[in-house]
């Protein structure tokens, strides 16, 4: 049981990394570069969209590049 949970978590590691690290990283880069975001979008949402643009393909292909 424990093994199955760990294996599933491991398989989801790109998604976990995208949410846990890339999303706030992209948001903070946007904030610090003072970019004006479209539609008054909050930096965190923009960060999530940018992170997911990298994360979803990585999750499906098993590699980031």
């Amino acid at each position: 049981m424990q093994k199955v949970v760990l294996r599933r978590l491991y398989k989801l590691s790109p998604m976990i990394f995208g949410l846990g690290f890339l999303t706030p990283l992209a948001a903070q880069i946007l904030q610090s570069s003072k970019v004006t975001l479209p539609f008054g979008m909050p930096p965190l949402l923009a960060g999530l969209l940018i992170a997911m643009a990298f994360t979803i393909p990585a999750q499906l292909r098993g590699r980031w590049v």
Binding site: I16, G20, P24, L25, Q28, I29
Partner: protein, 290 residues
């Protein structure tokens, strides 16, 4: 040595001369490696307040952290071979401290590095048994690309090859320790990121980890073993002339001596190489490039 005719000697006699040369270099306490190992860790720790307090810019912190992450592997490598102190000796604790702390900037668990590196020495260039075999490639650019591929989540090489090696060896303890280390590393990065310090965490730890892994794979795994087709003692590793010189290649130009005599301290390897070269040539070693 250069005045002596070695062509008449048997491989056994040549090996004896080689061992005598090696013995002159083994057993010297590697002060510089110990100082460098602990120094790398302390310098890397110091980067955090320096960057947080804007004493140095983030990009400079990234460059410094990357250099430290790469350099830090070398003292750890000495510790992997028990060069600082052997098991059971009075300074064994120092061997372990240096091994563990010097690879923190690289986020590499020391026990994992030690166990898999020993397998690399035992089975150099063996497609199934050498955990570093995944770094083999046809040329320098392909080697860099291969190193990048090896750090991908579902790659065949890199950490996944190390996991397979540890399972084959029945070292689940090391595997569990390495998994815990990696989870802790990720959780630290996540915590920093969600508390507003993602850029600093990326610059001082996440990116240096990746750049360092690629650099180390290139110079420590690929370059000294290329083309990685032979497994014999005198043929599985080579000396070579690195484009970035001996310092830029992390001293790997003389790696052939390290594979033959792993307990010679890193900084004494070049001297040992030049003393041994005629013997190595007579033994058929791959020393023609340097």
């Amino acid at each position: 040595m250069s005045n002596r005719d070695l062509s008449m000697l048997t491989p056994k006699e040549l090996a004896r001369i080689e061992r005598d040369i090696a013995r002159k270099h083994i057993g010297k306490f590697p002060w510089l490696s110990v100082t460098a190992g602990i120094g790398v860790f302390l310098c890397w720790l110091a980067l955090w307040p320096l960057v947080f307090m804007d004493v140095i810019p983030v990009w400079a912190g990234f460059v410094a952290a990357t250099v430290l992450a790469i350099i830090g592997y070398l003292p750890s490598h000495e510790a992997q071979h028990d060069i600082i102190a052997r098991p059971g000796s009075r300074l064994r604790w120092l061997n372990e401290v240096v091994g563990h702390v010097s690879t923190v900037p690289l986020a590499l668990p020391f026990d994992l590095a030690r166990a898999t590196h020993r397998e690399h020495h035992l089975h150099t260039n063996h497609p199934e048994l050498d955990p570093d075999y995944g770094s083999s490639a046809a040329g320098p650019l392909k080697a860099i690309w291969k190193a990048i591929q090896n750090i991908q989540p579902r790659s065949k090489g890199g950490h996944n090859a190390y996991s397979r090696t540890l399972l084959r060896l029945g070292r689940k303890d090391v595997l569990k320790g390495a998994a815990l280390y990696r989870v802790t590393w990720f959780l630290t990065l996540f915590t920093m990121a969600w508390t507003g310090h993602a850029i600093e965490a990326a610059a001082l730890w996440w990116l240096p980890h990746h750049v360092g892994y690629v650099y180390i794979q290139y110079y420590l795994s690929w370059a000294p073993h290329h083309p990685a087709k032979e497994t014999a003692r005198y043929r599985n590793t080579r000396s070579f002339r690195a484009a970035l010189g001996n310092i830029g290649s992390l001293g790997m130009q003389y790696h052939v001596v390290h594979h033959l005599h792993p307990r010679i301290p890193f900084l004494r390897t070049p001297q040992a190489y030049w003393e041994m070269k005629p013997v190595l040539e007579a033994q058929g070693a791959r020393v023609e490039d340097l």
